[in-house]
Structure formats: C-alpha cells, structure tokens
Amino acid sequence: MKFNFGPIARTAASEIHDTFNLAALPLHETLDALMAATSRDEFVAWLWHDLFKPAFYWQRNAQKDKFDWNHVPGYRGSAFESAELSFAGSTAIPVGLVGMHHAPRPQLTILERDIFSDQVEQMNLGAAAVYVQLAFVAEPALPTALVRAVIADSFIRAVTKSVAQALSKTLASKSPGFSRVRFVFETQEGLMFSAPPTDAEIWDQVGQRYNVCVTGDELVMRHLTPVNGGNAFNTEVVIDLTGDAPSPEQLLQNTLGLAELLITYQDGRTVIMAVPQPSIYALDIASLREETLRLTKDKLNALDVLISDAGVGLLSAVFDAQVCLREVPGRISVPPHATPSSPHRSIDAVITYPAIRLAEASAQGRRCRVCGSTFVSDLPPKSDWPGSDFTDVEHLGIQGDICPLCRIYAVNSHKSRTPQEKASGVARDRKAMRGSFALILPSSHFHVLDKDCHLIERPALDVGGRFDLPKKPLQRVTVTQQECALFTQISRRIIAQLWRRIEPTAPLPLPYIGGVLLTHREGDLVKQVLPTLRELFTQVTLRAYPFEADVIPNIELAMEVTLKSDKQHHTKHTLLKSRPLILPVHPGSSLLVLADNKMQVEISYNWFEAYDRVARLVGQISSAQRSEWMRRIAEGTDPATAFYESAQTRLKHGDDGRALNMTTTFWSAGFGADPAQTWSAYEKEREQMREIFSRYPMLTEMFQAFTKKKEDENGSSDTTGGAEADEPGVGRSAGRHRRAGAAK
C-alpha cells in the first residue's frame, strides 16, 4: 500500500535543525488553523501560511550557521515577497497575517510554538491548545470492546459535529466562505536555474505558478515543486470541514475528514481530541456528554444490544461510573506566548489518566470479576450468577461484583429478550455480544526506522544543501503529534480499504472513529473479514517528498469467527476468550483468530502464501469435489490420489474409468506433460501440501470460510425455533453455490 499526502512540512525540532519528520504540509497547515486560529481571518491565514514550502528553496545562513527555508508569502527579501498581497486579497484577510507569522512581531494571536510543542517532540501537548478527552475508567477487555467503541465513535461524532458547526459559523462571517480546502501539489521537470538562482528566476518559473483562491465552496491552494526526471509526486489532498464522515472511497482518495484531524491520540482506553480556541469554539463538556450518551444509546439499540437490567438503565450507570469527559487541564493563556520554560503538559499523563482514575477507584473496594476493573458506582452489587446461559466459570469465578460496562455484556445473553420485546413480536435470539465478532479500529501507534527513510532526491532549489545528506545528515529523531495524526490517517485508510473488500457499498459501521464493527448478526460479513486480512501483511510505503519511507502503521483488531458449522455459536461466550490486539501492518506480522469456541488459528503472510498454493490446485477442482479433496490431503493423501478418490465419491463409485481420466487431466494441468518433469512437480507439490496441512490443520475450514459467501448457520440458527423472516440465511438449504476464489 502506498500513501502520499504531499511533501514534508518541517526539518527542525526546537533548537535542533538537523531533523525531519514525515508529517505532510496539508496536515501541518490545517492543524495550525484548527488549533491556533482565534478568528475567521486567522483560520484562513493559517491554511496558507507555509504556502511556498513545497518549492524547497533552501539557503545557507552563514551568519547564523543554519539553513533558511524561504517559504513565506510576503516575507521581505524573499523570492515570494510579492505573493501575499495578491492571495490576501483573494481570501479576504489582512496583509501581514501570513507574511509576518515568523517575524519578531507576528500579528497572529496564537503562534505555532503555543500550540505545537509537538513540532519539537512527542512529550508534551501544545501549551495553549484546547484538548478534550474521553477516558474509560476500565480495563480494555474484549467483553466491553463493542460498547467502548460505540461510545468512542459517538464522542468523536459529537465533538466533530459541534466543531464543524462552530467553524461553519466562523467561516460564514466573511466572504468568501468555504467548507472544503483543496491542497494541489504539482511537479515540474526540466526547470533550469542559474547558480545560484536569482529571485526573479524562482518567481518566474516556480513562485508565480502557486495560487490561493476560493472556487465555489473550496479554498484551493496550488503548489509546484521542481523535480528531476522520474520523481514526480503529484497529489491532491482535500480537507472536509463539514463534519461529515468521509466514505471509504473519499478516504482512499486523500480526503481528510474533520474527525481525523481533531484526534490527537486514541487507544482502547482514551481518545484525545484537539478543538479550536474558545473564541471560535465554546467547549461545553456537559453538552458533549449528553450528546455522546444519546448517540451511544441510539447506536446500541440499532445493534440490538440490551442496555438495561431488570429495568435499571445500564448505559447511564456506565457514563456515571466509567466514562469520563473532560477538558485536558494545564492550558496557558496567551499572551504571553509559550517559551521553553512554560509549564509542560505531558501527553503521557493524559494518556494514563484512565489508569490513574482506576487506581483512585480501588480505594472503594468494588472490583469487576469479568474485566478486573475497580469501579465506583451506585449500581446495586450483582454477585449472583449472571444467568443460566452464562457458563464460563473458569473466566469469572463464582462470586464477586460486575462493573456497569461488563454488566451490559453479562445481560446480553442469547435468551435475553425482554417481556416488552416479546410482546412486540421480537422473539429471535439476541446475537450482538455472543458468537462471531469483528472489531477493527485505527491506532495511533506506529513504527518507522531511520534506515527505512530514503531521500528521493536533493530538491532543485536546495541551493544551501539542507538535503545534501552525505555532508549534513538529517535524522528522523522525533515522533511528533503531527506524525501521530498522520499515521492514524494511514491506519484509517487501511481499514477503509479492508472494509471495501468486505462490503462494496456501505459506509464504515463506525464512521467517526473510522472502524469496522460486526456482530454475529452479520456473521457472513465476519467471515469475509478473514480473506481481507491479507492486506495487513503487506509493506506500507509513505511518499513524503523529498523522502520515501517504509513505515509500519498499526491497527487495533479483535476477531472471533466460527469456521466449523456450529448452530449454537451465538450462545458461546467467546468474547471472554480473546483480547484486542494492536497489530503492525507489515509482512512479518501475525495474529491469532479465535476460530471456534475452542481453538485459535495463527494467520500471517506465510499462511496466505500457503493458502495461495492450495488455491492454485483447488482452482482445477470442481466445487463438488473440493471439500473432500482437502479433507483427504489433510489426512496425508497425495494430491492425485485425493483427486481420484474425491472424484470416485462424486461419481458415486460408478465409473472408475471416468474418475481416472479426470485425474489424468488434473495431473496434466497441474504438473505438465513431460513424464520426468511431471513426477518431480508432483513430488514437490505433495511435500508442500503435506507441510502446509501439517502446519495449518484448520486450513480446510478456513478455505471453506474464505470461499463460501454465506454459511448455512449464518446469523441464524435461532435456538427459539422461531426465527424471523428478516434474518439472513434462515431456512436456506445446503448446497448453494460457493463463490470460488474469493480470497485470491
């Protein structure tokens, strides 16, 4: 998978000027606008304040013994001095906001150093930036993963929508207005410059081809980078400020939604989001909490999750005891501007806030026997056995309390229909929190090594030698919060791509957090997740001109799928037997999938290689024979004999001559025509099949799951015996057509 969000935006970290990071210019400029602007004009100014960075015009400043990046429109003495006047006019902002953003007396209210200590390092949040945090005061156990993911998605949606509304109001205060921002990056080969180039040359060939204008509902910025042959990196990035969740197609075409731009960090226990300054966005925690609760309730109802226990509302109890929304404390007021000696806002302390709250709760003495969390709640203790269908004594012990989040898990038995539901005709088994399950979420975690970052070329206007790496090496020494945002974006797009392979038209099930959530009701889709996991064992490449880097983004994944026919699967407590995994997207990764109630299967790149080898042979076998052929191969029979015997079965042992002829055809197609070569090919294949099936004994079941579009017991197999007509798969007969080669 390859990504390209435009060229890099920085080569310095604090006072260290020999570094680079991979965050792209659109990301940097948009985050500046969202976090630092205090008015419409400042917001617009921040969006194009670094306009000419993609020219990569670097000069050596001998006086200060450093390199200067000439990139600011309107900056005196720059090749781009004349640009600000024109673009300030077309965007209706005062002259000086952009041109003076690095000047000793900048006209912007809040500066980059106030909101981005993260341009410096990964340790601290921006001193004057506003952050809102969602924290789960609970251990991140799988039985609560569904509810936590829905709450997180609802929280992100609530914040995003309210920020979008505030931005819309701000941007509408002056004409021209817009709700989308388009960054266009073009490249040009063959430009010739003097040595050193003159300002007139740079302006004529490069600078004047830049543009900032509002077209329709879009603010469009055009950039041009002079490159050598073969190093073009043309791309466009669209920022959608409407607060809508982009579709997977939009995500894959470099549209960045507001939600993903606002998220600073996310994991299973917390989400930290940056929001605009108070003069644009009035952060109202109580209102956000109320909206998050409302959205969560709607979504859980839609998922058929029971959120009450004997008439007591569990979701309110969850929000009271285990969900915390707060503004991240420690923000400084500007002026004065932040300095290196300003109080630090350690991001570690914010990320570990849920753990701190858990530790505080331990003093109260209530502990959940399902997830192990300590908790403080008004909910009456529930030490009795959660129900006759709750049989996993080895995971729970026989006494103790259950926290509100796990109470939702415990009450969602397949036999948990309430009298009201039954009275309204809903009698089918409940399947939201038992049986098959898939949860795939973006992760802020990532991994990049310096050695995997390659300089594509020294840019044409790097006359000072900033990228003359043999003389002056650059190190990717920092992990910045902008990079965290970048890699979460990549993670989101990997998931969007997976989802499109699973479901060709529907939006992501959790569109704001950018995740996939499937329950046993969508058992057929859960099975279709399996073949798409192949996408996770590939190399991810990020082009961030002038660098290209092999990077390792991560995703969070929890999955359980039944491979064997098990009509009682939705009655099983499989969520107790697995845990979410932070998976590096890389060929060397592997993951364990709970394949039924008892067994886990390791899936990796090698597994898919083995699958492909089997698929090549299986492709020559009719669907009526495949299953038996694989069963015989798994028992140690050679491929030709397995074919002959499965053909005999298919022909009901009535025509051995025909079975042998079919086998001869299979032999020729698979191993060739020359007798010596066919035998060698046959022996090689036999050994490989033997090795594959001994290493992956569940391959037969996995193969069937991969190639069968729908399973007989899919989402159905109701133990009530009265399944409703709208349930997929109910009443279908066996022997339907399989979808051949679905996983290739």
Partner: protein, 142 residues
C-alpha cells in the same frame, strides 16, 4: 506389442527423475508396465476395455509383500490368461531386486497408486503413439 513394451521400458530407464526415490519410482513403473504388457490381447477385442482402472483397483486390493507377488495378484484378477513377450523377460526379472528399493517401490504402488499408474500410462501411451486427446482413455487396437 513387444516393441511398445520394450520402448516404454527403455523410456522408463531413461527418465531423468529429480527425486530421492528415483530408482524405486522406476521400479514401480516397470512393475506396472509388466502388468500392462502381459494383459491378454483378447481383453481388447471389444474395443471398450480400459485397463487402467482395474490395474489401479487390484494393486490397491493386493496384500502381497513382494513386487512379483503384487504383479501376480493383479494379473490373476484381470487377465489370468496372460501373454508372454520377449520384452517382459528382463523387466520381470528386475522385480526380484529385493531390499530397500523393492520395499520402496511397493510402498509407492500401494500408497501412491494413482500417480504411479498415470506415469506408467503416459510412458506406455507415448511408446504406442496413442492420441493423448482420447477422452475415453480406452486404447485403440493396433
């Protein structure tokens, strides 16, 4: 018939097999060629006799622990009245090689009957010049 069998046997000896089991594979194929070559021509008179399925069937059914015994079992079941050809001489004698190679050849014939029969069939039919596209698998009378 004699010429066909002789050519098939020579082709078997000449097989450049990239296999640790090459001697045993060749011996197994020769055993099958002995069976194929000794089948009575009367079986083919009607024109619809396909010899390979019964060869497969009786090899798998035999309990013989020697190669010669195996060949004998199959021939007694398919063609008790077998023909004698000059080319069968050395090939039949080779079945008494004994030792590891014979044991391995028996194992191949018992456990990988289908691959061995297909290999033998291709060698025999190549010597005979049969149209490989023949869908019935029944050999035409020569």
């Amino acid at each position: 018939m004699n010429q066909v069998l002789a050519e098939a046997l020579v082709a078997t000896d000449a097989l450049a097999l990239q296999s640790d089991r090459a001697p045993a594979v060749k011996l197994a194929v020769k055993a099958l060629l002995v069976v194929r070559g000794a089948l009575s021509p009367k079986l083919f008179v009607k024109g619809d006799f396909n010899p390979y399925p019964p060869i497969t069937k009786y090899i798998r059914a035999s309990n013989s622990e020697t190669l010669a015994g195996l060949v004998d079992d199959v021939l007694r079941n398919i063609s008790p009245e077998f023909t004698t050809l000059q080319a069968l001489g050395e090939a039949a004698a080779a079945l008494y090689v004994g030792g590891e190679v014979e044991a391995q050849a028996i194992a191949i014939l018992k456990e990988e009957t289908i691959p061995a029969v297909i290999l033998m069939k291709s060698l025999y039919q190549a010597a005979r010049g049969l149209d490989e596209a023949d869908q019935t698998g029944t050999e035409v009378k020569s």
